[in-house]
């Protein structure tokens, strides 16, 4: 086993990147991702990584350079947050469509405007349709573990999709936690070598990336992407198990949930899942039948698996740390509700929007949510489908 270190989320990410040792890293600084790139450039300066670091002039160019590098048969990584991700948005779709296994760490931060540097999930949720696999991390350990696994997930032959690993800005990125690091060679063995069958640098077998699709082929190319997404859950599970065998920490499509015998469940992603966990522990001691479903993989959304674990639950509150303006609720809420639609006796599902722009959420609010769920389960009535936690009315 490796060492145990006190690392912030950014530092843990940088450490994972060091061990992954990508061929190319193209990144542009943005708070709260900056420390990651800073740390990593120190590694580059010290010569302890083989990475060619491209200090691009914008996030758009960062993702473009990653596309070029991955197409050239190199392992390419980048990191960003909020508006940096928004600036890359166009190229994210292209990266996924070219089936390039680019790994990106997204340090969740609110999208402007007004400009806000603190945590919410609007950035990665905004990119949920781009065709990337999206993995949410609860804490620094998970950020580290997810990043390493993502390399294998992305490069799997049947998958070949870019992966974004997210973790909460400031709450995780700048908070020091206990992180277990693997040995360098354990990581290199785990991730193996990147093989791109169709590399631009293979000048003897020239390939063309990015042709013009007219209406006669575009649909088919998109269907291929859909197929890759549909196959990926089993790959994610396989790798989660393999990683567990290596590290002792096993990962599945959902976070390790506390659902045994639960009747009232809160669904959450990111660091808030940790907060909910402590409330669940407390309430269970008092005999309350409460539980937590932690969202780990958001894309592809594991509808089948989630439906199974929520069977028999009476009421569910989905916590969304982002808004989809004009929709019937937040993104996770919409997915869960849709997943449960075909159930014969689905639980009541309500939505809470919380934590936008870094608004803190504490155990008291979580307890209030459970109390509300209790009422809903009891009265079988939902007064308000979408509520807000921590908002000043």
């Amino acid at each position: 086993m490796g060492k145990i270190l006190g690392l912030t989320g950014d530092e843990a990410t940088a450490e994972a990147m060091r061990q992954i040792n990508p061929d190319v890293l193209a990144a542009y600084p943005i708070t709260p991702q900056t420390e990651t790139v800073q740390r990593f450039s120190e590694f580059v300066a010290e010569g302890i990584v083989a990475t060619e670091m491209v200090r691009v002039e914008s996030e758009h160019s960062a993702m473009s350079a990653c596309v070029g590098a991955a197409a050239a048969g190199a392992r390419a990584m980048t990191a960003t947050s909020a508006n940096g991700l928004a600036l890359m948005w166009e190229i994210c779709y292209i990266a996924a469509s070219y089936r390039l296994p680019i790994i990106m760490a997204v340090v969740n931060r609110a999208l402007s405007g007004p400009i806000n540097i603190h945590c919410d999930h609007s950035d990665s949720m905004g990119a949920r349709d781009a065709g990337w696999i999206q993995i949410y991390s609860e804490n620094c350990q998970e950020a580290y573990d997810n990043l390493i696994q993502s390399v294998r997930i992305a490069e799997e032959e049947k998958v070949k999709l870019p992966v974004m690993v997210t973790f909460d800005g400031f709450i995780i990125s700048h908070a020091m936690e206990r992180v277990e690091i693997l040995e360098d060679d354990e990581v290199s063995q785990f991730i193996g070598k990147y093989k791109n069958a169709y590399s631009l640098l293979d000048v003897d077998s020239p390939v063309t990336y990015g042709p013009l699709d007219l209406y006669d082929y575009y649909f088919e190319h998109k269907r291929q992407q859909i197929e890759a997404m549909e196959i990926s859950p089993e790959v994610i599970q396989k790798i989660g198990k393999e990683f567990g065998d290596l590290s002792g920490r096993y990962y599945d499509l959902m976070g390790n949930c506390h659902l045994e015998g639960a009747e009232l469940v809160i669904v959450a992603a990111g660091s808030t899942a940790g907060t909910v966990k402590s409330v669940v522990d407390e309430l269970r001691e008092k005999g309350e039948k409460v539980g937590l479903l932690k969202i780990r993989i958001f894309r592809p959304f594991p509808a089948k698996q989630i439906t199974e674990v929520l069977r028999g639950v009476k009421a569910v509150a989905v916590l969304d740390r982002s808004v989809s303006f004009g929709a019937q609720g937040g993104p996770i809420f919409l997915e869960i509700r849709s997943a449960l639609f075909d159930e014969i006796k689905p639980p009541a599902v309500v939505n809470y929007i919380y934590g936008l722009g870094g608004r803190d959420i504490g155990v008291d609010e979580i307890k209030r949510v459970y109390k509300n769920l209790e009422r809903i389960a009891h009265t079988k009535k939902v007064d308000e489908l979408v509520g807000y936690l921590g908002l000043r009315e």
């Binding site: 469509s97 070219y98 089936r99 390039l100 070949k160 169709y198 077998s205 020239p206 390939v207 063309t208 990336y209 990015g210 042709p211 699709d213 006669d216 082929y217 649909f219 088919e220 190319h221 269907r223 291929q224 197929e227 890759a228």
Partner: protein, 101 residues
Amino acid sequence: MKEKGWRDIPWGGLILEEGNAEKYKTGDWRTHRPVWDERKCTHCLLCWVYCPDSSIIVKEEKFKQFDYDHCKGCGICSTQCPTKAIHMEEETKFALKEGGK
């Protein structure tokens, strides 16, 4: 050529076969075709360096023939030939010969 389904084409929109645009015959865009006068040609290869469609075939450093499958009849070769060894003729003359399209 029957269009392929999504399972039969390479993923990622990649085109794996280099230069397969050759299969697409742009020769039928022409209204006039260049005709070569061997007697006047000095094999300077100016026509070759100026052809936008790679349709001048050069063998052993000499002009060999036009690639009529792809030549669009732009006429640059004729305009640029210093010895007037290339002139443009109406395509209809040849259409009948080549089985009338």
